[in-house]
Each structure stands twice: as structure tokens, then as C-alpha cells.
């Protein structure tokens, strides 16, 4: 089993070394690939100096385009499992092995690390949790599946997911939408409880003003995604 960790990095010079060391220590079975999304700080220089394994995007593509590059990499180099770990240190690599084993044992296509099964660790702000519950309800309404943490970036996928995401991946705020895409394609998704940390540096990409755009965009994306699924089924 070849297992890959995708690390999208945009101006993560403060965190990137810590993230990689964390992975080497706590997820030794995994390879990793850093996708430097045309950072304007010295993220690229740090990658070079430390001889990290990185792909360098010549143009800033945003989070969706960067992560998709990782899935394309996974497809090209024959990985069986790929998982995205953000470069800001929110995801604990110690859970990855557990997630990979769970995926294999239960013959799943995707395992999502959820903060809201045992409700341990960093729980996000109250306002954001309202948004998260809304997406859980919306996805449940449209697909009949319950995903307690649809905005979790910690998602581990098998070959089918790698193929699917290498071909099609949203440009921004991809998490809830791609869960619906995967469900539409009849893929099996389950969640396991994880503990997330508060971000260790940098700022969240989702500010107050952007959160309105986030809610509207992701809602439309999920509904459209569902329509795609239906038309395909007919």
C-alpha cells in the first residue's frame, strides 16, 4: 500500500517545517508531497533547503487547484491512498494510520476525520459550528447520508477518490462539495473521531466577510452537485 499525504502550502513558512517533521515522526508509513501554491514568502526556499518533497505551482491556483495537483500526483505515481493535511498544523498526523487502517478494514472509499463524534479537542467557534450543522443537515436532506463534520479538511481517500478528484475538484472551499460528489458516485464514506488542534500560525482563509460567500457558494455547489448526480442516474 502506497500512502500519500498532500500538503497544500500557501505562505506557510512558519509552519511547514513543523508539519513535515510531525508527519515524519507520527505517520512514518506515509510519503508526503508539498504543493507550494506560488507562495509570496519563502516557503519554496525552505522546501529547497530542507530537501522536502515538493511540487511548485508557477501560478497561484488557490486551495482547490493546489490540492487537485496533489491528487494528480497521487494518480501519476500510483498511490493507493491519499490524504490532505493542511500546512497550518491543525491536523494531527497521528490519526492518519488509524484512518488508513479503518479504510482498508471496512473496504471504504473515503474516511473523514470528524471533530464532532466525541467532541474532543478544538471545536471551532460557535458561529462556525452553526454553519457546519447547516451543511450536515443540507447534505443529509439531499443525499440521505449523515456527515457530522462536512467541513473537515482531514479526509483520506482510496484509488477511486484519487481518480475522481484528479479529474474534478472545486476551486475553493471544496470540503462539503466533494463529500457530495463522492456520495453521488456511489462511493462509501465513513467518519471516525479525531481531535484537531487550533491553528499554530497564519490565518484562516475564511474571514467574516468571506463566510457569507462561503455559505452561498457551498450551498449552490452542493445542490448543483446533487443535480449532476440525478441527471447521470437517469
Amino acid at each position: 500500500m502506497k500512502k500519500l499525504i498532500i500538503i497544500p502550502a500557501y505562505n506557510e513558512s512558519e509552519n511547514i517545517v513543523g508539519t513535515v517533521r510531525d508527519i515524519e515522526e507520527n505517520a512514518p508509513d506515509f510519503d508526503y508531497i508539498i504543493i507550494n501554491d506560488c507562495s509570496t514568502d519563502n516557503t519554496l526556499e525552505i522546501c529547497k533547503q530542507n530537501h522536502f518533497n515538493y511540487v511548485n505551482l508557477p501560478i497561484n491556483l488557490g486551495i482547490g487547484g493546489a490540492v487537485q495537483t496533489g491528487y494528480k500526483y497521487a494518480r501519476e505515481y500510483g498511490y493507493d491512498i491519499a490524504v490532505q493535511v493542511d500546512g497550518d498544523g491543525q491536523h494531527d498526523p497521528a490519526f492518519l494510520q488509524q484512518m488508513a487502517e479503518y479504510l482498508e478494514e471496512h473496504q471504504l472509499d473515503m474516511v473523514i476525520g470528524s471533530r464532532f463524534i466525541t467532541n474532543e479537542g478544538f471545536q471551532s467557534s460557535a458561529l462556525r459550528r452553526v454553519g457546519i450543522v447547516y451543511f450536515t443537515k443540507l447534505i443529509h436532506l439531499l443525499t440521505g447520508h449523515k456527515i457530522t463534520d462536512p467541513t473537515s479538511g482531514l479526509r483520506l481517500g482510496g484509488r477511486k477518490v484519487i481518480e475522481l478528484f484528479a479529474e474534478n475538484y472545486p476551486k475553493d472551499y471544496p470540503e462539503p462539495e466533494t463529500a457530495v460528489t463522492a456520495l453521488n458516485h456511489g462511493l462509501k464514506i465513513e467518519e471516525i473521531p479525531v481531535v484537531m488542534r487550533a491553528r499554530q500560525g497564519g490565518v484562516s482563509s475564511i474571514t467574516m466577510t468571506k463566510s457569507v460567500y462561503y455559505m452561498v457558494k457551498v450551498t449552490i455547489a452542493i445542490v448543483i452537485e446533487r443535480l449532476r448526480g440525478r441527471s447521470k442516474a437517469v
Binding site: 511540487v55 511548485n56 487547484g65 487537485q68 495537483t69 501519476e76
Partner: protein, 122 residues
């Protein structure tokens, strides 16, 4: 009704615009695909200017009482259609650019690894 003077001035401006447009197309600065709509617009306006009473006739045929209302209405629809086609074009461009960027980055990675492997062998 437009005065003769206004008709002549407008026709001249339109002809100048048309010449400029053709020059850009000749220099391949505008894609012919996107310029067709801009070629048609001044031609249509020229026809309207040169044939007196045409606008009034069209407005009556469409059941619009005021000629100017019809002009604004059709102009608005035209502008919306052009902007929409631009959105489609930009989406296509952005998608092509994303795929190209990813391909370039992955090929650069493969080349770098090849060079590293070679230098290790030496």
C-alpha cells in the same frame, strides 16, 4: 426623427469604429470568434441610421409605444448577452490555465527528480 447632421456624424463615428475593429482583427489582437458580435453591432446601427423610419416600424411591430424604450431595451439585452458570453469565456480560460499550471508543475517535478537521480549516480 434624427436630423441629417446627426445621421452623418453618427455614421462617420461608426465607420471609424468599424475600421479600428477590422484593423485589430487583421493584427489578430481580437479573436474573430469574439469579434463577430462587435462587427454586427455597428452594421446594424448603420442600417438603422441610413433607413429613416425603420426604428419606428420595428417598435410598432413589437408593440412598443416609445422608440427610445425599445432602443434601451434591446441595447440592454445585447450588453447582458455579451457579458454572459465573457463569463463563459473566462471560465473556460481559468480551467485551461489551471490544468496547464498543474501539468507544468508536475513535469517540472519529474525533471527535477530525474536530475537529482542522475547526480546521485555520478
Amino acid at each position: 426623427m434624427m436630423s441629417m447632421k446627426l445621421r452623418v456624424i453618427m455614421a462617420l463615428i461608426l465607420l471609424l469604429g468599424l475600421m479600428y475593429l477590422v484593423r485589430l482583427i487583421k493584427k489578430r489582437k481580437i479573436d474573430l470568434k469574439y469579434s463577430i458580435v462587435w462587427l454586427l453591432l455597428p452594421i446594424v446601427i448603420l442600417v438603422i441610421i441610413l433607413i429613416p423610419g425603420l426604428l419606428e416600424w420595428v417598435a410598432a411591430a413589437m408593440g412598443i409605444y416609445d422608440v427610445m424604450n425599445m432602443v434601451f431595451f434591446l441595447g440592454f439585452i445585447f450588453v447582458i448577452a455579451v457579458i454572459f458570453s465573457l463569463t463563459v469565456a473566462i471560465s473556460k480560460l481559468a480551467d485551461s490555465m489551471r490544468q496547464l499550471t498543474q501539468k507544468v508543475a508536475l513535469e517540472e517535478y519529474a525533471d527535477r527528480k530525474k536530475i537529482e537521480a542522475n547526480s546521485e549516480r555520478e
